[in-house]
Each structure stands twice: as structure tokens, then as C-alpha cells.
């Protein structure tokens, strides 16, 4: 006879102390289901982990079942769910990026060394790309990112408890307004411009989605506008593609530009609410946006749509537009099946305009200065500009705004100051981990939408990683596959199982090329979303362009 079992209903009871603590934390937050991830952040930030009793209290407050809360909390890697018999993590975590460029720059050794040096009181976690590849390797102490991290710099930050990010200098609200910012928005709002004319200008410019999908922006506005209201907008700043850091760059230098772009889009399309989804790794950008949105809202109180800022929680897949929407709705970041497309049924089932942040960043310039100011750039017959995030074995990694259609060789030469000393150009990733790899012999291809597909690659977010004869293509491909396996949402068989099965095959000295190709074909053909569809790209490129390694 188990007294404990007899004495209560099945399942966990609400602990009254934990309930009070959760109620206090949530006092300013609406108890809607879609606020779940924001609520989990509050608890994780306060207590450094999510205890079972707090999750039970939260479920009680939000009228959710325990499984509903648990499955969301465990999906996102920034949440630590600690059950009754688990040991909570130490209050400080040092996250060391282990993606492509950081691995090239010694992330593994750094991690091993730090494990010895920092001891038990600090948790060390390898994490995927944190968007600072131009200064690899990167370690994040608490929320404080350390570029060009060394054992010393990390130890120093840990000892001094420097866990908050430095906020870089950026163009704030007053400065932005002072230099003509929001004039265009006010013109639109007051009727001096028509939505049709603005959309027209956008179409003429050829601006395409700069997150990687490349959908023509002007057409997208037209499509969403045709669906009945209320319509919503979702701004994607979940910049997670390894090698990409352009969004962070613009956020930390000139954040109001994309905000104005969002407002103009909202005005032109007829949008009631804007949801901005920011990856949680960008802690400095979060502070910036909180501040700047507040100032924006006080300045333009009555004429703004509602603006909501939502935090990601460590899931690359939430950069996929429909997975991001699921995440904003407080759920696991699982991509949706299309059709219907998000333009028709998106956030909260409403027609939704979804844009990568950078796409919105260019709206003001294009409309103010005219389409040609953008489209007149370009090489080899391509149109427009691209903000290339360049990292790897070059002298000057960083964000380089260059004409679309530029070649890798030109980019290295004209913008990046050439290869590092002692490194000769061997190959490159034209579009992050998912864009595949090309050999140096194809260093003259135009880098743009549509130009690289025939070579089995794509430009994606224009995250360019340059590697040299000191690097191994197969090692980089394996790093990429491990990344995809780690980030797969798990929904569909080809990706969930395919990425996991590919890894041991890619670890073999000699690759079983025919089996890998069979697997790759199914991943490309039958995965639900771009992650699974693109995951085989690096491995296929190795087999095609670096066959001597496998």
C-alpha cells in the first residue's frame, strides 16, 4: 500500500510557493498560450533552469497540460529542464561555437582546454553558429560573446563575472531621424505616396528575400495584400545559417532602417501587428531593439501597428518561416506542410507577410532613391547588391556589401584583402552550411540567386566561408552534417533519420558513395523543409568536387 500514491491524484501537484514565484514573474505577461516560450525564458533567466515545480505552476497558470509545456521546453536548447532527481546546471554556462569557421579556427582544442581550466563550477557547452564568424573562434560567457576567444580571455571573463554583452555604438532613434529617418514612413502614412507606387518600385528593383529563399519582395507584398485582413507580419531575425552575421551587423549598427522598412511594408500591405523574432544568441541586439522600439513607439504612438519582440531559444530550424511562426505561437519549431503558404494561412491562421530582416533593411533606400539605385549594381548580368558575410581563411573577414554576381575570386581579392598568409584557396561555401561547397576551380562563378543551382549549390543568405589547403573538405562537410543532425526538428523521416544515418557513413575512411547518393536523393526529394532538402548538399559536393578526399 503506497500512501503517497493513494494520497493524491496521478501526476504532479501544484506547489504553492512555486506558483507564487511564477505568478510574480508573469505579472506583466498575458497568460495566452502563445506566450509560453516568453514565459519559459523568464523562469530560465531567473533561476538558471526550469525546475519541474515551476513548469507545473506555469502549466497551471496557462491552463496547459504538463506534456504541452514539457515538449516545448525540451525542444529548445537554451532551456534546461531539471526534474526532481536531476542535478541543476551551475549558474554560469560558457558556450563555445563549434560550427564551420570556428572549427577551422580551433574550437575543439579551445573547448577541451577550457574544460580542464574552468573546473566544475562552470558548464561548458559546444553550440552551433552564434553569428560572429568573422572573429572565430567565439566563446559566449553567459550572454557575453568573446570574439577571437582564447583560454585567457574566457577565463578572465569568467573570473570577473562579465556575463553581459557590450552594447556597440549604433545609430539610435534621434540620430536616425536627424538624418532623414522615418520621413519616408511619414510620407507613406500621410498619403503622399500610394501603396501601389511603392510596391511597383520594389518590383522594379528586383529585391528578393535575403534570408535565402529569394522570393521577390514586391510580389510577396502584392500576394499578401490580396488576402482578407486582419493580416500580420513576421520579421525573421533568427539568423542561424552557419557563416551568416549580416543581420546582426545591421542590427548593431543601424537598427531603425529595418524597422522603418517594416512599417512601410505594414502600411503598404495593410498589417495590424508586427512580430519580430530574434535569435536568443543576439543578446546585445535584444537590448538595442527593446530600447529603440520603445522610443519609436513613443514618438509615433497613434500611427504604428502593434510591435511585439519575441525571443528565439536556440533552434536553427526557427529560421524557417513556418517554424518561426510556430515558435511565435508558443509551440515547438516544427515547419508546416505547404500548401497552404504562410501568405494565406500564417501566424495565428492569418495571412502573414514574412521577411528576413535584411530584406526590410533595404526598403527605405530603394523607395527613397529609386529602384535603379539598387538594381543598377551587379556583375555578369546580375542585378542588385548583396551583403556577403565572409569568414574563413581570408585577411579581412566581415560583412562586405558587393554587387550581386561577383565571383568568389573577386570577393577575396577586392574586398577581403586576399587569402591569409600560408593558405592557398582550396574551396568555399557560397551560402552557409546548407548551400554546399565549391572547389577553387569554380571560383569564378557569379554569386547570386539562380546561378549556382546547376552546380549543386546555392547562395542562400550569402554566408561565404573560404577554406584553404590547410582544411579538409570532408571534415567541413561532416561538421555541416552534424550541425543539421543537431538542428533537425525531427518531424520527417528523411531528415530526422537521414542526417543521423549519414554521419557514421561520412565518418568512414572511404565513403559508400552510392549509398550516400541514394540517401541524399531522398533527403532532397522527400524532406518537408529546406533543412532536410539542403542537408545533403555539402556531402554531395564533396563527392563531386573533392572526390580525392573520400
Amino acid at each position: 500500500m503506497n500512501k503517497k500514491k493513494i494520497g493524491k491524484q496521478k501526476g504532479r501537484l501544484v506547489d504553492s510557493e512555486a506558483l507564487l514565484e511564477v505568478q510574480k514573474l508573469m505579472s506583466d505577461m498575458p497568460l495566452r498560450k502563445d506566450m509560453l516560450i516568453e514565459a519559459l525564458h523568464l523562469i530560465q533567466d531567473e533561476f538558471h533552469y526550469l525546475s519541474a515545480k515551476h513548469l507545473v505552476a506555469l502549466a497551471h497558470e496557462m491552463k496547459l497540460s504538463h506534456a504541452e509545456v514539457y515538449e516545448v521546453a525540451t525542444f529548445y536548447h537554451h532551456f534546461d529542464v531539471i526534474k526532481e532527481n536531476d542535478v541543476p546546471p551551475p549558474p554560469l554556462t560558457v558556450r563555445i561555437c563549434d560550427s564551420l569557421t570556428c572549427e577551422m579556427y580551433g574550437a575543439k582544442d579551445l573547448t577541451e582546454s577550457l574544460k580542464h581550466v574552468l573546473g566544475e563550477g562552470v558548464r561548458i557547452q559546444p553550440v552551433p553558429c552564434v553569428g560572429r564568424c568573422q572573429n572565430a573562434p567565439v566563446a559566449v560567457v553567459g550572454k557575453n560573446p568573446l570574439d577571437l576567444a582564447t583560454i585567457e580571455s574566457v577565463q578572465n571573463a569568467v573570473n570577473k563575472k562579465e556575463v553581459c554583452p557590450d552594447i556597440p555604438e549604433y545609430v539610435g532613434f534621434s540620430q536616425y531621424r536627424g538624418t532623414g529617418g522615418y520621413n519616408l514612413f511619414q510620407e507613406c502614412n500621410s498619403g503622399k505616396r500610394t501603396a501601389e507606387s511603392v510596391i511597383d518600385e520594389l518590383k522594379k528593383s528586383g529585391l528578393r528575400g535575403l534570408g535565402g529563399a529569394g522570393f521577390p519582395a514586391g510580389s510577396k507584398w502584392e500576394i499578401v495584400k490580396k488576402f482578407p485582413g486582419p493580416r500580420l507580419m513576421a520579421v525573421n531575425i533568427d539568423e542561424g545559417e552557419p557563416g551568416t552575421f549580416k543581420d546582426r551587423f545591421y542590427l548593431e549598427t543601424d537598427p531603425h532602417r529595418f524597422l522603418e522598412g517594416s512599417l512601410i511594408a505594414a502600411w503598404a500591405v495593410g498589417i495590424d501587428e508586427i512580430y519580430i523574432y530574434l535569435r536568443d544568441e543576439y543578446a546585445a541586439a535584444y537590448e538595442i531593439l527593446l530600447r529603440e522600439i520603445k522610443e519609436l513607439q513613443s514618438a509615433f504612438q497613434d500611427i504604428l501597428p502593434q510591435i511585439y519582440l519575441r525571443r528565439g531559444a536556440g533552434a536553427y530550424i526557427c529560421g524557417e518561416e513556418s517554424a518561426m511562426i510556430e515558435s511565435i505561437e508558443g509551440k515547438r519549431g516544427i515547419p508546416r506542410l505547404r500548401p497552404p503558404y504562410v501568405a494565406e494561412v500564417g501566424l495565428f491562421e492569418r495571412p502573414t507577410l514574412e521577411h528576413n530582416m535584411e530584406t526590410l533593411h533595404w526598403i527605405r533606400d530603394i523607395v527613397e532613391k529609386g529602384a535603379k539605385s539598387f538594381s543598377s549594381h551587379g556583375r555578369r548580368g546580375r542585378k542588385g547588391l548583396r551583403a556577403f558575410s565572409v569568414s574563413g581563411r581570408v585577411q579581412k573577414p566581415g560583412v562586405h556589401l558587393a554587387p550581386a554576381g561577383i565571383s568568389m575570386l573577386e570577393l577575396i581579392d577586392e574586398y577581403c584583402g586576399g587569402m591569409l598568409n600560408g593558405h592557398s584557396f582550396y574551396g568555399y561555401f557560397p551560402g552557409g552550411a546548407s548551400g554546399g561547397m565549391l572547389p577553387a576551380s569554380l571560383g569564378d562563378l557569379p554569386l547570386d540567386f539562380d546561378t549556382l543551382q546547376e552546380h549543386g549549390t546555392f547562395i542562400g543568405s550569402a554566408a561565404v566561408i573560404v577554406f584553404s589547403d590547410q582544411d579538409s573538405a570532408r571534415k567541413l562537410a561532416l561538421n555541416a552534417m552534424r550541425f543539421f543532425e543537431h538542428e533537425s526538428c525531427g518531424q520527417c523521416t528523411p531528415c530526422r533519420v537521414g542526417t543521423a544515418k549519414a554521419i557514421p557513413l561520412m565518418e568512414q575512411k572511404t565513403w559508400n558513395k552510392s549509398l550516400l547518393e541514394e540517401l541524399s536523393q531522398t533527403m532532397e526529394d522527400a524532406s518537408i523543409c529546406g533543412l532536410g532538402q539542403a542537408a545533403p548538399n555539402p556531402l554531395r559536393c564533396v563527392m563531386k568536387y573533392f572526390p580525392q578526399e573520400v
Partner: protein
């Protein structure tokens, strides 16, 4: 009918609107496309990708289960590209299955089926690290080494049954099925409905003890014996015994079951089953004490059927002849079939010569039915409970459907998930409360005040349906002037619900496009139960929320056939089909029909019969499938009556607490051992089919009743249920149109169905009411309180309730292995602060005492129970809750107030060992 013309594998096909490519292909028999995460009736999820096809013009392959044909679309399911991925998907999934290659847990793995069909050989990929087994639940085993993450179980738990226990936690290749916070299934909030087991395609979730590996000899389609939902099910039989139960498509359940129906069937094979007639030994006097079944030989001896039947009938004849027909009475069985009920009331009326026949409806919805007959001329529901999915607003009061009508509750939860509003009025917070839009945790006993205040608001704010009131009702002015006195301001402190909430709820109900009211014992089991129901009827009438889909009045009928048993006239005031026994026209009709003179007086009801035994007016009783020694209120009084009878004949499947008082015991047939018709809460007459034989010398109930009848001088010669049903059709006009053939074919037919060929009316009162003037009548009710209010001596309120795992008096479920394993001990639900004040730890013993009796049981802390309230179910004979309850009756419905009496509770006590 509109169809869409498209091309599949080069062939022209017509798809119906709303049909997926997969469904169109299946229907046309053109292509056998693999599928795993697809389950008919469930939302499609499109995650396994085994059903992928090529659609011309699309860059990637498409999942045919969630894509819909468009005009002119060209689809190819057998192209090299499509087949390559279909096969690769299967190979990838197979790679992670146990080494045996085929599922070790079920011979019917859908993955194995497709692997074989597509000719997948040994996978060329490495196997994952397998998750551990989980055998913590008594009914189900969790074998995640065969899980393919198809999420059918997640949809089963979260979208179909909405118990919300199963989640898909973590992500990527670490994604796994979890219960609550990744807990063992047996420790989680899992309610054991088994929907996930039914949904799982690979054997990852199976019935426990490898039951799924046994191959049945036959499958028999039948109905569930437990509650008034009336789920259709399939018995799997092996070597004459029940092996397992699966859900079957029925209008009331749509393949769903609950833990009782699915896993609570093995009581039928319990060694306690009566197998031989028993006669009381001459040296065994009757006392009020309960008999331990293992001591039966001290009190009873085996007898032949001849001897037992003769003895039983002789005893009845003697009393009838010496003391008059009204000195006899009978309790019939609301779990038995319509045929059995019909025969028993016929025996009592034509054999005994009295109308003293009643059954447990008296303890259940008697007051509701009374109010309904009074107000709208018909005691049955107006709309099926499945209409909650048609309603905009669902009003549930005094009921915990999650506990007692679990499958009906799933439809309510489905409706809420689809955006409908649930108004829940219950002093206790239950698992349904989380889903409620308005959760009115009001003070017990204050229903009339609360409901009158809602009506007050509706009238005050001009939200009545004036047209409906004028065209279809009378006496509205009486009601209006009555509720004028019940403003929300006045009522709020009485019922404990804020004024503004009362107003909002009233508005929400009145302004809804369609609103349906469902209720249970919280309304009916009071001395003002009839008044409570009168208020619900008035609320519905004044807002015109009746007579249309998604509206109406639905008292949730408890027993699986209480509706049918009442329809058959197993009640003292009505012949079959609710024809009053005191009406001379009805009497004449039945006298002609049955060729016997009949008693013109209304008979006594259940509690009145007990009182009549005490007063010596009733001396002999025939109790068939009832257990008043547990279900009657004030058990000391009721058991006292049972022990006083000169002659008690009990017919049952177990030596129940009641049977211990008998002079003769007949071993009867359990539900799976008989064929017959059973009518659920929705007025659906459903066919139960015999799956196994009764054990030993136990016999069919209809046969036993006939044998007794013959010995009382009635020349009956029924040859089985079908013949009895034919007679029933003649006696009950509302079922006259239902034929046995139609039941065999369709399994379920709704009444009213007055002519053969009528489809059967699911929704009634569309054009008026079956009253003399075709109108409904408002009957106002004044707020009164319960009979025995708490005071200093007895400060707590004792409220009887039900629980998911056990059914009523426990005679079946305490002998069902799984159910009794989940809840083996009696508990009383107490507010945690009250427990603390008493100095009692949860799980420790407490003693509850009323003016009538005393029990000890175990305390269970329940955060949903208000301070000062106690909830307890009544099926544990070691702590029989009805020893505490009061037998004071509602004057109209004659139902006892088992939902409210005054008790004191103290720490300590010695919960007795179970009897049996």
C-alpha cells in the same frame, strides 16, 4: 456530386471534393501507396513521407495523404523517383527497429506490412541506441524500440481524446514520445483510454502482457456495458474467453473507448462468478452484516435450477396470495437489455399483479426526467451529446463527464479546441476545468439561485427569444416574476460566483447561435433536484436554445441501458413508452395486449420500497442485476430492509453485497454472454451480440425471468431476445419502426423511429413538443436549501461522486484486474488545507460520520475541492459511502439527496479489509 478530374499513373481518376490523392487512389483501387503516419479519421500529419508521389511541375515530392487533387493535376506514385523515396523511407525506419526485423510486439505492424510489399531487404544503415521499455502501466506496455515517430499516438491523445498526456519531446533524432514530463506511463496522468494503443501502427504501444501477440479465434461486434455513452466495440475471443477489446465505429463514440470499456472486461472471467443456483441454508439467519463471498457455504447451498426456480416462485406466490400483490416488489437492472427489462416489468405487472417495480434511475436522473416530462412532455434527451461539436456554447452543470462519460467528454474537449465555449458549473475543479471558458466553482446546493440569476440577467438585458417564447411556451410570466427576485448582486454571495461572471455567462449563453445544456447528478440528486432541472429547462426555453442542432437539453444518462430500462417501463408509474399506469386508457390497452387484468395504482419507488419493507407492507422482492446494498442511500436502513424480507430472490453474476441477504440466488449472464438491445443516452438503440458463453450453469437473464414467470402462472414461450424485441416494438410506438434485421445490419438505430423506413430522429422538438397543446411549460423554482445543512456537530458537506476507473457499486470493476490495480483503495477527496488542519497526511486514514453511519477510508488531497466539501465514490464495500448518505427524497422525483448531507471528519480510523 462535384468531382475533380486528375491523372494518377497515367490513368484518369475522379476525386471527390475533400478527398486526398491517397484516398482517391485507395477508393479507385488504382495504386497501393504506402502510408504510416496516416490514420483514417485523424488529422493528417504528413511526417513519415512514405506516401510521397511526384506531382508534375513541383520541385520536390509531395505527401499524397495531405495533398488534394486539382483539376488536371498529374500525379505519379510509381515513378522511379517516387518509389525510390518511398522505399528509402521504409528502409530508414526499418534500420532503427529491433534486430528481429519484424515487430516483436504485434503481428500486425503496418511498417512490416509495407516493408514486405515494397520488398525492402536488410537495411544498410546503423541502428539507433534503443530507448528503454516501460511496463509501468497495468494495461499497456510501451516499447519505444519500435517507435517510428509517426505521432499517431500524439494525435490520439491530444486531438482525439484530448487527455493531453502524450507529447513529442526533444528534437531531431532525440525526439521521443513522452508522458507528462517524460515519466513512466503508469506514474503519469494517463487515464488509460488506450486510444494511443489503438492508433500505434508498429507495436510501440500495446496492451500489456503480450496480449497483442495472441491470435483470436473470432471477433464479435458488440457494445460497451458500462456507461450511457454506449461505445461500440469489438470483442476478441480466444478459447471461449475474452482476449481484448478494440474500439469500433459507432455514432456515439467514433472508435473511441475509455479505460473501463477497453481494459475492464475481465471481470467476466473472475473466479467469483456465480455458476450454480444457491438457496439459503435454513440455519443461516439474516443479519445486517455483509457476507464475505468466500464464506458463502456458511449461508448458502447449491441447488438445481428446478429446485431454485420452484422455491423462488413459490415464495412469491405465497406472499401474493396471502398478503396481496402490493406486498411484492422488484428492482430491475439498468445494465440489462431492453428485452430483459421488458420481461421483468411484464412479470411484475402480470405475474405479481403490482406496479412496485423500479430500478436505479430512481437514484440517478429521476428528478430530471420528472421535470422534463412535466415541462416538455418527454423525459429523454433532445439532442445527442455529440451535438456539442455543433454548438457554439456548451453548458455543463453538476456533471464530471471526464470521470463518468469519458468518450462524451472527448467531444466536448474537441469542441473547445475548435474554438467553442465551455461553461462549466461544478463546485469541484476537475480535469475538464482547464478547458472551460467559464469555470464556475460555486457553492454546492445553490443551483436554483445561480440559474435563476442567469435568467434574471437574460430577461433584464432583453436577451430572450421572444418569438420562441410566444410560439412554443406557456407560463413565461410566472417564471419572469419568479426570477425578478434573483439579481446577480443578490445571488453572488449565495452561490459564491462574482456578479460580473454571472452576467457574462448569461449573455454568452443567450446570445449564442446555438447552446446545449448537459447535466448530471449534481443537479438531480437533491431534494430540489426537480427544481434544479426546471431551471435548466427554463433557461433553454427562454433563449430558444432547443429544437435545433447544437442546442437542447441532455441529462447525461449514467448506466449503459438506463434509458432503455426506463423506456421499457421498469418504473412504478409508467408502462412501456411512458404511458401512465393510472390512465384508464393505457391500462385497458395493456390489459388487452398482455391478456391480464392490471393493478390501477402507481407503484412504490426504490427508497419508498425500502421504507415499505420496514413497515411490513412489502415482504418479498425480486432483485435482478441491482445492488441496493451498496447503491441505496442510508445503507443501514436499506440493508436492514433487505435482511427483514420474508423472501428475497437475487439474480446476478456475482455474490454481491445484496445477494448476501437473499433466500435464493440465480447465477445470471454477464454482458458479453448475451445478445440484446441497449439504448444509450442519445436514444440510440444498439445491438449487443453474445461473444462467449456464461460459465458453469449460469443462464441467460431472459430465460430465468421466463422460468419464474411460468411458475407464477404466466404461459410465456419466448425463444430469445429477437422474439421479445418484436413484442417490444408493438408496446413502444417510438421504437415501432426499428427491426431486428436493421439492428443487425446497422448496429445502431435512433428512436423516435415510429415506422419502418424512418431514419430515426436524432434531434427532437424541432416543431413543438409532445404535450397536449404542443407547447412547453415554464415551471418556476424558488431557492431552497438541502435537507441536512452542516452545523457545529457535523460541519462538513459530504458529496457522493464517481471515478473513472470504477463503476458505481464496484461489483464489476473491483473484479477487473486492470481497473482495480489502478485504484485499489477507497479514498475521500479533501481540500489540502482541510487535511492540514485535521493533522492528516495525504494517504492516511480518516473517519467520516453522519447521523446515519460511520466509515473509515483513506484521505486523498484534491486541490480542486473547496474547503468544507468532501467527495467520495460509493463502490468500495469496505468503506461504503452510502452508509453516510441521507434517504430524504425530492417530493416529485422521489430521488434521494445523496449529493449533500452533513458529516464530521476526523483523523485516524481503521479502513476495513475489503469484503470479497
Amino acid at each position: 456530386m462535384e468531382t475533380i478530374l486528375f491523372e494518377l499513373n497515367g490513368q484518369n481518376l475522379e476525386a471527390l471534393v475533400g478527398e486526398s490523392i491517397l484516398q482517391a487512389a485507395d477508393r479507385a483501387g488504382v495504386a497501393d501507396i504506402p502510408r504510416l503516419c496516416y490514420k483514417e479519421g485523424y488529422r493528417t500529419d504528413g511526417n513519415c513521407r512514405s506516401c510521397v508521389v511526384e506531382i508534375e511541375g513541383e520541385r520536390v515530392l509531395a505527401p499524397s495523404c495531405c495533398r488534394y487533387p486539382q483539376q488536371g493535376m498529374k500525379v505519379n506514385s510509381i515513378s522511379e523517383r517516387a518509389v525510390h523515396s518511398q522505399k528509402m523511407v521504409l528502409e530508414l525506419l526499418l534500420a532503427d527497429m529491433p534486430e528481429s526485423g519484424k515487430s516483436p510486439y504485434t503481428p500486425n505492424s503496418e511498417l512490416d506490412e509495407w516493408v514486405e510489399k515494397l520488398g525492402i531487404s536488410k537495411p544498410r544503415f546503423s541502428r539507433r541506441v534503443q530507448p528503454a521499455f516501460d511496463n509501468s502501466h497495468p494495461a499497456m506496455s510501451v516499447n519505444l524500440d519500435t517507435c517510428i515517430q509517426c505521432t499517431r499516438c500524439v494525435r490520439a491523445c491530444r486531438e482525439v481524446q484530448v487527455n493531453d498526456v502524450i507529447g513529442m519531446a526533444f528534437r531531431g533524432s532525440h525526439a521521443e514520445i513522452v508522458f507528462d514530463f517524460g515519466d513512466p506511463m503508469g506514474d503519469s496522468t494517463c487515464v488509460g483510454c488506450g486510444e494511443c494503443v489503438q492508433a500505434c501502427p508498429t507495436g510501440a504501444l500495446m496492451p500489456a502482457n503480450d496480449v497483442g501477440l495472441a491470435v483470436p479465434d473470432k471477433k464479435v461486434e458488440s457494445v460497451c456495458p458500462y456507461c450511457g455513452v454506449g461505445c461500440l466495440l469489438t470483442y476478441h475471443v480466444k478459447e471461449g474467453k475474452l482476449l481484448r477489446v478494440d474500439g469500433r465505429e459507432g455514432p456515439a463514440n467514433h472508435e473511441r473507448l475509455c479505460v473501463k470499456g477497453r481494459y475492464g472486461f475481465d471481470y467476466v472471467h473472475h473466479p467469483d462468478r456465480l455458476t450454480k443456483p444457491l438457496i439459503r441454508r435454513k440455519d443461516a439467519p439474516k443479519t445486517i452484516e455483509l457476507l464475505q463471498p468466500k464464506d458463502w457455504q456458511k449461508v448458502f447451498r447449491e441447488a438445481t435450477w428446478e429446485e431454485a426456480l420452484d422455491f423462488a416462485a413459490d415464495g412469491f406466490s405465497k406472499i401474493r396470495d396471502e398478503n396481496g400483490p402490493d406486498a411484492l416488489a422488484a428492482f430491475g437492472c439498468a445494465k440489462g437489455s431492453n428485452e430483459e427489462a421488458y420481461l421483468l416489468q411484464k412479470l411484475v405487472r402480470t405475474g405479481f399483479g403490482t406496479n412496485n417495480i423500479d430500478h436505479c434511475t430512481r437514484l440517478c436522473h429521476a428528478s430530471s426526467v420528472n421535470a422534463l416530462l412535466e415541462g416538455i412532455g418527454s423525459g429523454a434527451v433532445s439532442n445527442p451529446f455529440t451535438d456539442v461539436t455543433e454548438a457554439e456554447v456548451i453548458f455543463v452543470i453538476g456533471a464530471n463527464p471526464i470521470g463518468n462519460h469519458p468518450v462524451a467528454a472527448t467531444f466536448m474537449k474537441n469542441a473547445v479546441k475548435a474554438g467553442k465555449k465551455l461553461i462549466l458549473v461544478d463546485p469541484r475543479r476537475t480535469a475538464l476545468s482547464r478547458h472551460a471558458t467559464y469555470n464556475l466553482q460555486f457553492r454546492p446546493d445553490t443551483d436554483v439561485a445561480l440559474l435563476n440569476s442567469l435568467m434574471h440577467v437574460i430577461i433584464e438585458e432583453n436577451l430572450c427569444d421572444e418569438k420562441y417564447i410566444t410560439e412554443h411556451t406557456t407560463d413565461f410570466e410566472k417564471l419572469k416574476s419568479n426570477v425578478a427576485d434573483y439579481s446577480p448582486e443578490k445571488v453572488a454571495p449565495i452561490c459564491g460566483i462574482p456578479e460580473e461572471t454571472l452576467r457574462e455567462v448569461a449573455r454568452t449563453f443567450a446570445t449564442a447561435e446555438s447552446a446545449i445544456i448537459l447535466w448530471g447528478m449534481g443537479i438531480s440528486q437533491h431534494i430540489h433536484g426537480t427544481d434544479n432541472s426546471r431551471c435548466l429547462i427554463a433557461l433553454s426555453l427562454m433563449t430558444g436554445q432547443i429544437g435545433r442542432p447544437g442546442t437542447g437539453l441532455h441529462p447525461l444518462r449514467g448506466q449503459n441501458n438506463v434509458q432503455g430500462t426506463s423506456d421499457m417501463g421498469l418504473i412504478p408509474m409508467f408502462f412501456p413508452d411512458y404511458k401512465s399506469v393510472t390512465d384508464p386508457e393505457n391500462k385497458k390497452w395493456f390489459e388487452d395486449f398482455w391478456k391480464t387484468p392490471l393493478n390501477p395504482k402507481t407503484g412504490l419507488t426504490v427508497v419508498e420500497i425500502v421504507d415499505a419493507v420496514h413497515s411490513g407492507d412489502v415482504r418479498g422482492m425480486y432483485v435482478e442485476g441491482e445492488n441496493p446494498a451498496m447503491s441505496d442511500p442510508n445503507l443501514n436502513h436499506a440493508r436492514g430492509a433487505l435482511s427483514m424480507l420474508d423472501h428475497l430472490v437475487v439474480q446476478d453474476i456475482f455474490l454481491t453485497e445484496t445477494a448476501g441477504f437473499a433466500d435464493v440466488i440465480f447465477p445470471a449472464s454477464a454482458f458479453p454472454e448475451k445478445s440484446g438491445t441497449f439504448t444509450n443516452s442519445n436514444r440510440q438503440v444498439q445491438l449487443g451480440r453474445q461473444a462467449i458463453n456464461p460459465p458453469g450453469d449460469a443462464r441467460q437473464d431472459w430465460w430465468i425471468i421466463q422460468e419464474v414467470a411460468r411458475r407464477l402462472g404466466l404461459d410465456w414461450s419466448y425463444d430469445g431476445p429477437e422474439q421479445i424485441f418484436t413484442e417490444i416494438r408493438k408496446a413502444t410506438p417510438s421504437m415501432a419502426g426499428i427491426t431486428w434485421e436493421r439492428l443487425q445490419k446497422e448496429h445502431s438505430v435512433t428512436y423516435p423511429c415510429s415506422k419502418e423506413g424512418d431514419p430515426g430522429e436524432a434531434i427532437v422538438f424541432r416543431k413543438g413538443f409532445p404535450t397536449v397543446n404542443k407547447k412547453a411549460r415554464f415551471v418556476p423554482a424558488k431557492y431552497t436549501h438541502a435537507d441536512e445543512m452542516p452545523d457545529e456537530e457535523f460541519p462538513f458537506v459530504f458529496i457522493t461522486s464517481r471515478q473513472l476507473e470504477h463503476w458505481h457499486t464496484g461489483s464489476m470493476t473491483r473484479r477487473a484486474t486492470v481497473l482495480n490495480a489502478i485504484e485499489p483503495y477507497p479514498v475521500i477527496h479533501v481540500n489540502p488545507d482541510d487535511l492540514q488542519k485535521l493533522g492528516v497526511e495525504p494517504g492516511e486514514a480518516v473517519t467520516i460520520e453522519s447521523r446515519r453511519g460511520k466509515i473509515s477510508t483513506f484521505a486523498r488531497q484534491d486541490q480542486g475541492v473547496q474547503r468544507g466539501n468532501l467527495f467520495m465514490s460509493f463502490g468500495y464495500n469496505e468503506a461504503a459511502a452510502n452508509l453516510i448518505t441521507s434517504s430524504v427524497l425530492d417530493p416529485f422525483g422521489k430521488i434521494p439527496e445523496v449529493k449533500f448531507c452533513a458529516v464530521r471528519i476526523s483523523a485516524g480510523g481503521n479502513p476495513e479489509m475489503r469484503i470479497g
